[in-house]
């Protein structure tokens, strides 16, 4: 009897404990989310710009055709937005999107498939004199049609394994067709979308303010009354803003030291979310300069690197962490660690690796190799990674001089080929092989390949993985691509995957970190506990 009563009491207590967090997680309406943005949008046109400084303050004013599932920590799952559903034809060349009814622009007009078509026409087939940053990503698209008010059809030149993922771009704001018809440049200086927040003001150099859209199509959302994005360039001022309660969250990321200082100062008032970051610094080796045309030299430079030890040491002081191949670790197409360890430069036995490096240099007649390493004058994480690289190369007898170049001038020597070895960088808005490995195609297919090599085998593997709609088959091609790129030819050397650290006020709920700082900035799901 006593046991039964105790059991039932415990059950009640347990259910109360279980129920409490659920109750506590019920979104609360109201409040203004304040967040610093380290960069400011040059213009308001998402189709034209490439900086997160545009996404963070302006994404809440817009919707895109599809979006990434806001609860997906991997940041790769497609989720309905303006399109409520979609289908693909059996040959993988036709995608049909059903456009949601009842979506209103902030001026009160109704969104139709015509607006979607006009927006994507501007991105993929811009008229003369109109710049589109993402035109190259949609080279596979043949036509866009809007057969009725609720249907948009994309016809592709060939099947593509990444087409749906490419539509998740947070930059592809849906604009109003009538406005674009009158002036293709209107959205560069004006803001008017269908998003959960309406535009209030932008004081240049200071802030952007948005207020809740009462007519938002997703009923009950957004939860916030508004948001205020404050432009703060200095990272210490951003940290101070969060610490002093002047801001709730910074969506790009803080350093490990910033995280630790915030946690130490604020304890439970700070919640930390972390994720591998779809950004990586890599070493571009100019194949046009001797002796770097010799793959033995390039392989030796990779074999010298103890990436595992670096991961442990550098992750304490810099925004890098995981040892990675061409895909962000833990994402669907990433190479598992035990397979990655088989690639040159990724071996666990660093002594064996460096002995092999020295042997290769000797064979190539480059035992006393010395060169200048060009690095971008951006302290984090370029500086610690460059110091690490130079030290690692020194350990196989290579003497390296670092030349630091101001960021705005950095790509001039890279583009002209006026360098031997240099730090290079790429960052993606979504983890998707088509986007992430495009960089490494032959220089005549991608001018951003600063290694300046031509490798038709790589090009062929890229095309095969890109056209495959079978994930297992794609994985096979991506592995082969990775092995050739990083091991057999060592065209490029990857350092460590960036690591995204978001320490934010514990009052902020409904926001999930992803590997991309371009994602999850619509703020429709975000709410404040008080």
């Amino acid at each position: 009897m006593m046991n039964k009563r105790l059991a039932s009491l415990l059950a009640i207590a347990a259910s109360a404990v279980l129920a409490f967090p659920l109750q506590a997680q019920t979104p609360r309406s109201g409040g203004e989310l304040i967040f610093p943005v380290p960069s400011e949008p040059p213009s308001y046109d998402g189709h034209r710009e490439e900086t997160f400084g545009l996404i963070h303050p302006l994404a809440p004013f817009y919707n895109t055709l599809l979006r990434v599932d806001p609860n997906d920590k991997g940041g790769t799952k497609p989720y309905p937005s303006i399109a409520e559903s979609w289908t693909a034809s059996s040959d993988g060349r036709t995608y049909t999107f059903k456009i949601r009814s009842g979506v209103k622009f902030h001026d009160g007009s109704t969104l139709t498939s015509r607006d979607v078509k006009a927006s994507y026409d501007k991105i993929i087939f811009p008229p003369e004199g109109v710049g589109s940053s993402r035109k190259g990503q949609y080279a596979v698209v043949e036509t866009i049609e809007a057969p009725d008010a609720n249907t948009v059809v994309f016809k592709l030149k060939n099947a593509s394994g990444s087409f749906v993922a490419s539509l998740l771009s947070p930059y592809n704001f849906i604009y109003k067709a009538d406005i674009l018809a009158k002036d293709m440049h209107w959205y560069e200086k004006n803001i008017m979308g269908t998003g959960p927040f309406t535009f209030v003001e932008h004081v240049k150099g200071s802030h952007v303010v948005g207020k809740k859209n009462p007519n938002y199509w997703d009923k009950g959302k957004p939860y916030l009354d508004g948001f205020r994005a404050i432009f703060i360039r200095s990272s210490s001022a951003q940290v101070a803003a969060v610490r002093g309660g002047r801001a709730h969250i910074q969506f790009r990321g803080f350093t490990p030291a910033d995280r630790d200082s915030l946690k130490a100062a604020l304890g439970d008032k700070i919640t930390v979310q972390e994720s591998p970051w779809d950004c990586i610094l890599m070493v571009a080796i100019n194949h046009e300069k001797k002796p770097f045309d010799d793959k033995r030299v390039r392989r030796a430079l990779s074999l010298a690197l103890d990436r595992y030890q670096a991961s442990e040491a550098l992750s304490k002081i810099a925004i890098v962490k995981s040892v990675a191949g061409v895909q962000v670790p833990g994402t669907p197409f990433a190479t598992p660690p035990d397979e990655l360890e088989k690639l040159a430069g990724y071996w666990r036995d660093i002594d064996k690796s460096r002995a092999e490096a020295r042997k290769l240099l000797k064979e190539a007649g480059a035992e006393n190799l010395s060169f200048t390493f060009k690095n971008r004058g951006t302290p984090m994480p370029y500086e610690p990674l460059a110091v690490w690289l130079i030290d690692q190369w020194r350990q196989i007898g290579v003497n390296v001089k670092q030349e630091v170049i101001e960021p705005a001038a950095y790509y001039t020597p890279l583009r002209s080929g006026d360098f031997q070895v240099a730090m290079d960088f790429q960052c993606g808005y979504i983890v998707e092989p088509d986007l992430d490995i495009y960089k490494f195609l032959s220089v005549d297919r991608n001018h951003a390949n600063y290694g300046r090599y031509t490798d038709r085998v790589l090009d062929d593997l890229y095309d095969k993985q890109s056209r495959s709609t079978n994930d297992e088959e794609r994985k096979k091609y991506i592995r082969a691509f990775e092995k050739r790129l990083l091991d057999e030819e060592a065209h490029y050397l990857l350092t460590l995957q960036w690591h995204r650290i978001i320490p934010h006020s514990s009052k902020v709920k409904g926001w999930t970190v992803t590997p991309s700082h371009y994602l999850n900035n619509t703020l429709d799901t975000v709410w404040l506990t008080e």
Partner: protein
């Protein structure tokens, strides 16, 4: 005197033209341009040469240098600074926003500096080699040794750690909300004003010491005049001459030179705009800012020269 003023004003024109030519050419020599800064720094692999060509054409960067220069100078002559290459907004709009904050901060810092420097400098001079003089010297040397941004960081840390408070991050004009305005600007004004006062205090002290040794001061003392009267009527005006020069030059510098302090306190001022314009290779905006700062320096120098004549009637310009 009037002829002198007109001559000085007219001389500003070739000076500013020289500055214009210099900055125009210097910017073109520096590697990179606004289009590269806009598209190459984000790690994207899809930026095509076509896109960069379109953008360069739109900004007139495909035109010959001489044509770009004449177009710009013609605009300046009509007081049209053009559009920012980075944002596409009118440059006057970009500058106007920041100018109010920078001007207010410069004025507040100058007031802080003057209020500290003049009494302390005089006190140190008349109490030479006493503990008061030593204390003032330590105070001013500490101000010289400490960069204002570092003092700013200390202030922020003290406010955060001990008072759990931080100044507002967004500028509010004084006439909109004086409290918010002062809550944000008083701290950088104190940080900058202290360093600024250190220079002026040292200058005031040495100038005062020199003046106090002059024959006419000795005569005034021998006549039995009160020290207060000697200082205020006879010594201070003459001792102020070098101090006025320092204050004037510092004031001009404060308008566009507080880059790091503006970062520390997140102030949307001209200093940060300057750095951003250069890092974005925003030629038109950088050129306009350099011209404005040059004009301010020329004007402040001119005003200082006029003030000299007022302070020292022996000085007459022709």
């Amino acid at each position: 005197m009037l002829a002198y003023i007109i001559k000085r004003l007219l001389l500003m024109i070739p000076t500013l033209l020289g500055v214009a030519v210099l900055i125009f050419l210097l910017l073109r020599v520096v590697p990179g341009d606004v289009v590269e800064a806009r598209y190459m720094g984000q790690g994207s692999q899809f930026t095509s040469q076509d896109l960069m060509d379109i953008e360069r054409k739109k900004l007139g960067l495909d035109q010959p240098i001489w044509k770009q220069f004449t177009t710009w100078v013609w605009g300046i002559m009509r007081l049209d600074f053009g559009l920012s290459m980075w944002t596409g907004s009118p440059i006057t709009e970009e500058i106007k926003l920041r100018f109010a904050l920078s001007l207010q901060l410069a004025i507040m810092a100058t007031v802080v500096a003057t209020l500290l420097a003049i009494p302390l400098g005089i006190l140190a001079a008349i109490k030479q080699d006493t503990w008061i003089d030593y204390a003032v010297r330590i105070f001013s040397i500490a101000g010289l040794a400490m960069p204002s941004f570092w003092l700013g960081i200390l202030m922020i840390l003290v406010m955060l750690i001990f008072f759990k408070w931080l100044p507002p991050m967004v500028y509010t004009p004084f006439w909109v909300n004086p409290w918010d305005n002062l809550a944000q600007l008083i701290w950088p004004a104190l940080a900058v004003g202290y360093r600024y006062s250190a220079v002026a205090t040292r200058m005031m002290r040495s100038a005062m010491l020199e003046v106090l040794r002059e024959d006419y001061i000795r005569t005034a003392r021998a006549k039995g005049l009160w020290l207060k009267l000697i200082l205020s009527r006879h010594a201070m005006k003459n001792a102020m001459l070098p101090v006025i020069t320092v204050v004037g030059l510092e004031f001009a510098f404060l308008l566009g030179g507080l880059v790091v302090t503006e970062q520390v306190f997140n102030l949307n001022g001209l200093g940060l705009l300057f750095v951003e314009a250069i890092s974005h290779r925003d030629y038109t905006l950088t050129q306009a800012l350099v011209l404005i700062v040059a004009a301010v320096f020329i004007f402040v120098n001119f005003a200082t020269d006029i003030a000299y004549a007022w302070l020292d009637p022996r000085i007459r310009y022709r």
